[in-house]
């Protein structure tokens, strides 16, 4: 009798989930070993992180502020995946949404009750406009959206740097590299966490419900999984592709609006904090499920917050990026390994 490992075409959900949990534990373990190598005590650090995050409502509020944009940028990527598109441009759409919302806030006078919804709409439109060209190029010329959305990130980043240090620079002269403070704030919901957080959760649930319980959602599911099958069933693939990609951009744009109007209150370079890119990771952790995004974003938010705490302990910011990278890396391996099972084989009968 011999023992052999065989790959199966599908992974059982329990194995997939276990592989993911193992991946996160392994990543933290490896990070801990490396930290120990630098002379730090990983156990002590871990204790501090847990205490600072969960020991007080301040820690949880910090996490909540980080989770809000992550939910939306993660949802943005997950939604695009539904139609079979990779939106790597969440970062750019985030900036575009923040930019549009800031423009509306700074240059149109009005009471907050009117202006905040207007800024919300402007943020969504800004994000959607930023993905418009990649969307049309994909829909009509079959240009890969992966590259076009990615490249537009750099344009948006630099555009916001320029307006924040140039034309829209705070006329009061107090700040060196930001716009003036926005006249409208998203009100607070719990501690320092603004109403963007529950809104982001509601948007996610709404999108998940639309995808699961409407004819449109069904068509998007089929079209995204196999465009040929959509053609076979006579579904308008191109129309769905365009609409879903624009929706994806709009969601990332809303994340930008929440960040500028709820958390930072000024438009500045680097405002996105890599939330756009981290959204890709959130979506991967969520396995493309809209509701899974909530869990993925929560995990990501905790990791980011741990990073901030670790920085106060004298650790480099890249340590945290390394940990997130490790998690993604081990998750990818775990997803593949979940397909394998150990098999016993018997020799031929004599």
């Amino acid at each position: 009798m011999s023992i052999r490992v065989q790959r199966f075409p599908s992974a059982p959900p329990s194995a997939a989930l276990a592989a993911r949990a193992a991946a996160i534990v392994l990543a933290l373990l490896v990070a801990g070993i490396i930290l120990a190598g630098t002379g730090a005590s990983p156990l002590k650090l871990a204790g501090q992180v847990i205490k600072a995050t969960f020991g007080s409502s301040f820690g949880l509020e910090d996490v909540g502020l980080l989770v809000t944009p992550l939910i939306l940028t993660g949802l943005s990527v997950a939604v695009a995946q539904r139609i079979g598109a990779w939106n790597i441009g969440g970062e750019g759409q985030f900036y575009a949404g923040a930019f549009a919302a800031t423009g509306v806030a700074l240059f149109i006078p009005g009471p907050s009750v009117v202006m905040l919804p207007l800024m919300f709409v402007a943020g969504a439109i800004g994000g959607a406009l930023w993905i418009l060209i990649p969307t049309l190029a994909r829909a009509y010329a079959d240009v890969n959206e992966l590259i076009t959305t990615l490249l537009l990130n750099f344009v948006a980043t630099l555009l916001v740097y320029w307006v924040a240090t140039g034309p829209w620079l705070d006329p009061g002269g107090q700040a060196l590299a930001t716009t003036a403070r926005l006249p409208h704030d998203i009100p607070e919901f719990w501690g320092i966490v603004h109403w963007g957080f529950p809104l982001a959760v509601v948007i996610t649930i709404l999108v998940a419900a639309v995808l699961a319980f409407t004819r449109w959602g069904y068509e998007v599911r089929i079209a995204g999984s196999n465009p040929q099958a959509a053609k076979y069933a006579g579904m308008p693939f191109r129309r769905h592709l365009i609409l879903v990609m624009l929706l994806s951009g709009a969601i990332a744009g809303i994340a930008g609006m929440f960040e500028v109007a709820g958390t930072v209150h000024r438009l500045q370079g680097g405002i996105s904090n890599n939330f756009g890119y981290l959204g890709i990771m959130v979506a991967v952790l969520a396995r493309g499920s809209a509701l899974g995004v909530l869990a993925g974003a929560a995990l990501m938010g905790i990791i980011l917050n741990s990073g901030i705490i670790l920085q106060t302990q004298g650790l480099n910011v890249s340590t945290v990026l390394a940990i997130t990278g490790l998690i993604l890396f081990f998750t990818a391996i775990g997803d593949e390994l979940a397909h394998y099972r150990i098999i016993r084989t018997e020799p031929a009968k004599a």
Binding site: S10, T214, S225
Partner: protein, 532 residues
């Protein structure tokens, strides 16, 4: 010669010669499926050994084990007297075992010479195109396979491409050549050429394993025949002791009655006077702008079965797409139910009552990664009970899916699991039942029996008869002439995107149809395109 002793049919060769290939007790299991169980096989030098069996009998799995694509769960592989294990196809090739797959693995943009030398460690590191072509010509000459070294593979006919594929395997010093249904893509003349080359190859002390389910050609070419059924070996027999009838019985496990299904009962719907679907001089192009259909004129009447014969790849797929609105006609006229459908899309055809069993069900008929439920309701998701207004009701969808699966007699353990986890035959049955539900007027069935065993094929054919008797026009595209002759009222033959002729089944001979499949125009075309 333990292996030969174990089997009654022994080759007449020098005693003590070890078999080139000896498989002993091979077992291979997939989740829920026994692909191979205790299979023994011996292949002697100088022999063409046919491997016969229905779809799903385990032929391909066995050969994938022999060529190192799969590893056996039990059993031994003995090559030339030595036990071997192949961790990969590379090791099998090094041991002299080469396989030509049904779908060629050639680079179409490369020349024949480049394809022959691709990924071969004997290819000189630096070499000019001329020298490469000269080398290829030399190799081809030595192996007696005529190829044009400078030609681009994309420009070659299927028969020529197959020759290149065989040459590529043989240049790697293969002593055992495995061919997986090699004649499926060939015209009769091309198949004849292939057989000559194979005889020549084994006369040098090599061996060929010939996978097929066509009884006549197996009887023509092979020395011995091994029959597999349900993953187990049934027997190995000398070809000269076999007859078609006996082989068919061994394959299926019982006598099959090839019944004439053309006769109609008293209550059957009459063939309609007016066609339900009419094509006039329709042409169509592929994505590259090349014409793939040319001057197609067809009438499909309600209550008849129209067969479409031809070697696969002669425009049948494109025709089925035009007939279902998936591919727009470049010119010509399509009239469905008296209305002009020339610009209509797939949704309009389906809404009129045109069902479509596509030839490549995983590529276009299903979304493999989605659930059985999602795939089962793809034709009826837009109407109650699955949808009410804009709302989709997952529970109602699963109810409909359960109904379809029951009608198709497909066991589905979990309707939420991806449809790709079902076997190919079950997928096909599910698609067929799904399409029959909407096919009130016309059903287009492209190669519906592919991947099904004989019992399931019979059931499927009876479905078609049932639809015909209800007054549905059925278009049956198939490469099995027997199937077409048993079932269709008329048979149209396609070649290079054109219809060579349409024959009344009663008056057509297999020879006439065979000639049209090879590109000759039938003389009786004019008579049968007219009113039935």
């Amino acid at each position: 010669m333990t292996a030969s002793a174990a089997t009654p049919a022994t080759m007449e060769i020098a005693p003590g010669t070890p078999p080139l290939v000896l498989l002993k007790g091979i077992c291979k299991y997939f989740p829920g499926v026994i692909a191979n169980k205790d299979v023994d096989l011996d292949v002697m030098p100088g022999e063409i050994h046919a491997l016969l069996g229905e779809n799903g009998a385990g032929k391909s799995t066995l050969m994938n084990i022999l060529t190192g694509i799969y590893q056996p769960d039990a059993g031994e592989i003995i090559i030339d007297g030595y036990a071997r294990t192949f961790a990969s196809p590379v090791e099998a090739i090094a041991a002299g075992i080469g396989m030509v797959h049904q779908h060629f693995k050639l680079v179409k943009a490369f020349t024949v010479a480049e394809n022959i030398h691709l990924g071969w460690d004997e290819t000189p590191k630096r070499i000019s195109a001329q020298a490469l072509e000269a080398r290829t010509a030399e190799l081809a000459g030595a192996l007696n396979l005529a190829v044009r070294p400078e030609a681009r593979v994309g420009d070659l006919s299927t028969g020529e491409q197959q020759r290149v594929e065989i040459l590529r395997v043989l240049t790697r010093n293969a002593r055992v050549l495995i061919l997986d249904e090699p004649t499926a893509v060939l015209t009769p003349a091309e198949a004849h050429e292939l057989f000559k080359a194979l005889k020549e190859f084994v006369s040098r002390g090599n061996a060929v394993i010939f996978i097929s389910h066509k009884l006549d050609e197996v009887l023509e070419i092979s020395d011995r025949i091994t029959v597999l059924r349900g993953g187990r070996k049934v027997t190995t027999e000398l070809t000269k002791d076999c007859s078609q009838k006996m082989l068919a019985r061994l394959m299926v496990g019982h006598d099959i009655v090839l019944s004439n299904l053309r006769a109609r009962g008293p209550n059957a719907a009459q063939v309609s006077k007016e066609p339900v679907m009419r094509l006039r001089s329709v042409s169509a192009r592929n994505g590259d702008g090349n014409t793939v259909l040319q001057g197609i004129s067809l009438d499909i009447h309600a209550g008849e079965i129209l067969g479409i014969a031809g070697v696969a790849g002669n425009g049948q797929k494109e025709l089925s797409q035009v007939l279902t609105g998936m591919r727009p006609a470049a010119s010509g006229e399509i009239v469905v139910g008296g209305k002009d459908f020339s610009g209509a899309g797939a949704a309009e055809f389906a809404a009129f009552g045109v069902g479509h069993i596509p030839e490549d069900r995983l590529y276009s008929g299903l979304a493999p990664a989605l659930s059985v439920t999602d795939n089962a309701v793809i034709r009826e998701y837009m109407k109650p009970p699955v949808s009410v207004g804009r709302f989709f009701r997952p529970r109602a969808a699963t109810g409909l899916a359960r109904q379809i699966a029951e009608a198709a007699s497909v066991m589905v353990p979990d309707f939420g699991m991806p449809v790709r986890n079902l076997s190919g035959g079950n997928q096909q049955r599910l698609v067929a039942r799904r399409e029959m539900r909407i096919a009130d007027k016309v059903l287009i069935a492209a190669y519906p029996s592919r991947g099904l065993d004989v019992g399931a094929i019979n059931t499927m054919m009876r479905y078609f008869v049932e639809l015909r008797d209800l007054g549905v026009g059925v278009i049956l595209i198939s490469e099995e002439l027997e199937e077409l002759l048993n079932l269709s009222d008329r048979i149209a033959v396609m070649f290079h995107g054109e219809i060579m002729g349409i024959a009344e089944t009663g008056s057509a001979s297999i020879e006439d149809i065979g000639l049209m499949m090879g590109g000759q125009r039938g003389g009786f075309v004019a008579a049968s395109t007219a009113e039935v």
